[in-house]
């Protein structure tokens, strides 16, 4: 982790242990996680369900207390501070709007708790309603709003109290696909504009990549990898990350020789060299990660031959499952022009972009 920037929100060796449901044994939901979140940063916790991302968010928000470790905000230990004293606001997956209050009163709620004056409440709520393009809905009740509007109100309710940190718990997963994409860019724009430090939980890797300055991929309560989206996509440090972020083909390779920081390998009949991020020597068996879009199909008898097992035409692209020497690979062709469409059962030449190959130890 880069140490040149000081994190404003720091998780210091945080663990959370739950007793198991049957009372026997325990579950380490979060296992010794350390993390520094920078001022104004948009950080996403990404992982499959049960990986500990939501628990981590709830530890930050104070709805759960850590079993071990500390949480620091601006240098102060807030590990055991109750959630209402943390100056953080959370946007929930279910929106969690107060059903018995109007939109205006929902948004004004946090300000009333802080005993802000009536006139200031009115001004601030109206401002945030404008910001979220909801100006005429103030007197409606939550159940009179569409899902997208409800999510906007939920976000407005959190923004209006101007929290030190904004927390998101899978806020878009109840929306339909189109609305999700739209809200995604709205959240990103507003966060950039207001420059609020944000922690966002999702299991949707596309959402994570689209929104984040940095992504934390979590697995089994631990951080699997931390980095900028393109870093994580291009250089996954483990098979798990490579598989979870986007799709990946894994091919076994043997190192022919090592020169400096590069290894010479033979892949799909091509000799090439690839950067090493770990120690390896000639004869080591490694795994090469090849993204589906890095594989190329062409009617060329000189190339290594593959058999098309399944072809799916998707409009903007075509997807193929091909068989190469008994191994199935996924190939995405983003230019399905007429001569580049292949039929099931057909034999076709396969190659790849050498620069995109990434090596893993296993």
């Amino acid at each position: 982790m880069a140490n040149d920037q000081v994190g404003s929100l720091i998780l210091d060796n945080i663990s959370k242990i739950f007793p198991q449901r049957d009372g026997q044994g325990e579950v380490r939901a979060v296992d010794d996680v350390s993390l520094a979140i920078y001022e104004g940063e948009f950080l996403t916790l990404l992982g499959p369900s049960g990986c500990g991302k939501t628990t981590t968010l709830r530890l930050i928000s104070g709805f759960e207390m850590p079993s071990a470790g500390r949480i620091l905000l601006d240098g102060k230990d807030i590990s055991h501070r109750p959630p209402n004293k943390r100056d953080m606001a959370m946007v929930f997956q279910s929106y969690a709007l107060f059903p018995h209050m109007t939109v205006f009163n929902n948004i004004a709620y946090g300000l009333r708790v802080q005993h802000v004056s009536r006139s200031e409440i009115k001004a601030r709520v109206e401002k945030v309603l404008d910001l979220m393009s909801l100006p005429t809905l103030g007197e409606r009740r939550p159940n009179e709003l569409s899902g997208g509007q409800q999510q906007r109100v939920a976000l407005a309710r959190s923004l209006v109290v101007e929290p030190r940190v904004l927390l998101f718990d899978e806020p878009l997963s109840n929306l339909d696909a189109k609305l999700r994409v739209q809200m995604r860019s709205e959240i990103r724009n507003i966060q950039r504009r207001l420059n609020i430090t944000s922690v966002y939980v999702t299991h949707d890797q596309v959402e994570a990549m689209a929104l984040s300055d940095r992504v934390v991929v979590m697995n089994e309560g631990k951080i699997a990898q931390l980095g900028a989206p393109e870093e994580i996509y291009r250089h996954p440090q483990s098979r798990f990350v490579a598989d979870f972020i986007g799709r990946a083909n894994f091919l076994p390779v043997t190192v022919d020789s090592v020169t400096g920081e590069r290894a010479d390998i033979t892949l799909l009949g091509q000799n090439m060299s690839s950067a090493l991020t770990f120690d390896a020597s000639a004869g080591n068996r490694l795994t090469a990660v090849l993204r589906p879009e890095a594989l190329l199909l062409k009617n060329d008898p000189d190339l290594k031959q593959a058999t098309v097992k399944q072809a799916m035409y998707l409009g903007a692209s075509s997807e193929y499952i091909v068989d190469v020497d008994g191994q199935e690979l996924i190939v995405v062709e983003s230019d399905p022009s007429a001569e580049q469409i292949f039929r099931e059962g057909q034999s076709v030449g396969i190659s790849f972009v050498p620069e995109t190959v990434h090596l893993l130890t296993q």
Binding site: P82, K85, A96, R141, N143, S158
Partner: protein, 578 residues
């Protein structure tokens, strides 16, 4: 690793202490449960286990007389449970599955027994069907001896079937109609669906209602006193032991014998039935239940439903008529004498006292129920399940047992002697002569103890329906626990709060078994006075008491619905918006 495991409960505990309001709330609840529920039950059991008590156990369990009493009690409980559950099921089935006229009106008449003052139903049945009954003798010319098991089964079933009815109706409505549709789709006819889908899905509800009615029936005191005749049950024997023989130990021993089946049933209900429940309430029924359309079945069911409605109207009509006539069936001249007796005469004190004490107990019980529900559903701490269990004991245990327990615990001041400070009175004498507030304190406490369980259950049901993140959102926006409870939770569970309050008031006004030993010359209770009037054959006065009591409860319901409201404020627009 080990540090972490040990650290967990401490962290949770620290979390509770950190919120002083929550902590104080928890302490108050625990003190209430220990003082008002657990200690009386404990003292009663202890009293029964003294040397004298053990001798009595020996004697009772080996004496043919007492064996008959025990057998009678269980027999009566089983019959009432079977009849009441069957009746409740039938009526609920008609409401949910059959399209017949006057459904709504019939439904309302089935709810009437909820506010039945004790003795009212039994006395009315005696007048109608007894030896000189208006119907049995007047119409059919039979001198029917209704005293005993047959009469008792009738009045107890009439008094308690509503519980089974409401329970099963709720479950039937929650059954996903898609199940019926799937069965029809697979070729089953209506009867086959009833037999293979409806009934099996409702087994937990049927079993639950059966057990509930069993406990209510064996704990009932008022009806066996009036209707029992020579058919003695444990509750009447306990009553006689205290009121006639002043033998607290004997009463305690008999109470423990009564306590065993009651607690057994309570445990079965709690740990078995609640786990085998197959009905899942999704909150979003996918269609309307299929209706029974076969004309013969339909009209037979309609006839049965209507018959029950008319029978209930007949009983309550008799109560009204009896209150306004000199001596019903003998001298039918209209009179207001009985009301004069209650309102201006001897009964006015009891009327005012009872209403006042019930009015004090109601908000406390309602609020306490909601607070305990909140703690149980929303908070994680050690002993959460025990808290729920102990609160429920307040109603699971027969009222007579609570009453005797109170006599044993509170008939003297509870004191501790500390070095330096001397003797300190923790709880002053609450029952009997020279008790503080003339014994009213103990009565209010009993009212609360008997009402909190229902408020707790409706609170738990309502809270489980509310997404916890709604409360978390409030806390995340800076509100503390008490603010969140007041501004968010309480408004959202308002309907449950309202029904908890109504139940508490109705229960307090009509309870007899738990307070019959606790009334004093300074604190008179209406139900006790009704018993006196019935025992002395002054039915007119008793009926006037009942009518006034019903009137007071109805007025209270109106006041509560205005003061508290019956909606959350969220559903109004749901109708308008949809």
């Amino acid at each position: 690793m080990n540090n972490l495991i040990r650290g967990r409960p401490i962290a949770e505990f620290r979390r509770i202490i950190q919120d002083p309001v929550l902590f104080i709330g928890l302490i108050l609840v625990v003190v209430f449960i220990i003082v008002a529920i657990l200690s009386p039950i404990y003292m009663m059991v202890e009293e029964s286990l003294t040397e004298k008590g053990q001798e009595l156990f020996d004697r009772y369990l080996n004496s043919p007389v007492y064996r008959t009493i025990i057998r009678n009690t269980l027999e009566m409980g089983l019959i009432v449970a079977a009849l009441g559950t069957t009746l409740g099921f039938l009526l609920a089935y008609i409401q949910v599955k059959v399209d017949v006229p006057f459904k709504r009106l019939m439904h309302i008449t089935y709810l009437v027994p909820i506010i039945s003052p004790p003795f009212a139903v039994a006395t009315a049945v005696l007048l109608l069907f007894g030896r000189n009954g208006m119907i049995s003798r007047g119409w059919f010319g039979i001198r029917y001896d209704i005293y005993g098991l047959d009469g008792l089964s009738l009045v107890l079933t009439l008094s308690y079937f509503t519980v089974a009815y409401m329970n099963l109706k709720g479950m039937m409505q929650a059954l996903d109609p898609a199940l019926d549709e799937a069965a029809t789709n697979l070729g089953a006819n209506k009867f086959r669906i009833f037999r293979t889908v409806t009934v099996p899905m409702l087994i937990p509800g049927i079993a639950g209602s059966f057990l509930l009615l069993f406990v209510e029936a064996i704990a009932d005191l008022g009806n066996p006193l009036v209707m029992g005749g020579n058919y003695e049950v444990l509750s009447t024997r306990i009553y006689v032991s205290i009121v006639g023989l002043y033998n607290t130990t004997a009463a305690a021993v008999l109470s423990v014998i009564l306590l065993v089946p009651s607690l057994l049933v309570f445990m079965v209900q709690r740990y078995w039935i609640s786990r085998t429940s197959v009905v899942s309430v999704t909150g979003k029924p996918t269609g309307t239940p299929q209706q029974i359309t076969h004309p013969l079945v339909r009209w037979l069911l309609f006839g049965a439903g209507l018959f029950v409605s008319l029978f209930i109207l007949l009983i309550y009509g008799t109560i009204f008529a009896g209150a306004f006539t000199k001596i019903l069936n003998i001298n039918n001249d209209l009179t207001l004498d009985h009301f004069d007796f209650v309102i201006n005469g001897y009964g006015s004190e009891a009327m005012k006292d009872t209403t006042k004490l019930a009015a004090i107990a109601t908000p406390v019980a309602g609020l306490l129920g909601m607070v305990i529900a909140f703690l149980v559903v929303r908070k994680r701490f050690m002993g959460r399940a025990a808290l729920d269990f102990a609160t429920m004991l307040g109603i699971a245990v027969p009222g007579t047992i609570i009453g005797i327990g109170y006599l044993l615990v509170f008939n003297r001041p509870n004191e501790i002697t500390l070095p330096l400070l001397g003797t300190i009175t923790l709880i002053p004498k609450l029952t009997g002569g020279r008790a503080i507030f003339g014994g009213a304190g103990a009565i209010v406490l009993v009212f609360i103890v008997r009402s909190v369980p229902a408020a707790l259950r409706s609170g738990v049901a309502a809270l489980s329906q509310i997404d916890p993140s709604i409360e978390e959102a409030s806390i995340s926006l800076g509100a503390d626990n008490i603010g969140t409870f007041r501004r968010i939770t309480l408004p959202l569970i308002r309907p449950a709060f309202f029904s908890g309050l109504v139940y508490a008031f109705a229960r307090s006004m009509t309870t007899i078994s738990a307070i019959i030993f606790l009334t004093t010359s300074r604190t008179k209770i209406m139900t006790h006075q009704i018993l006196n009037e019935v025992e002395n054959g002054r039915y007119g006065n008793a009926f006037a008491y009942c009518v006034i009591l019903i009137g007071i409860v109805l007025v209270a319901i109106v006041i509560l619905s205005v003061a508290v409201g019956t909606t959350t404020g969220a559903e109004k627009t749901m109708e308008g918006g949809a």
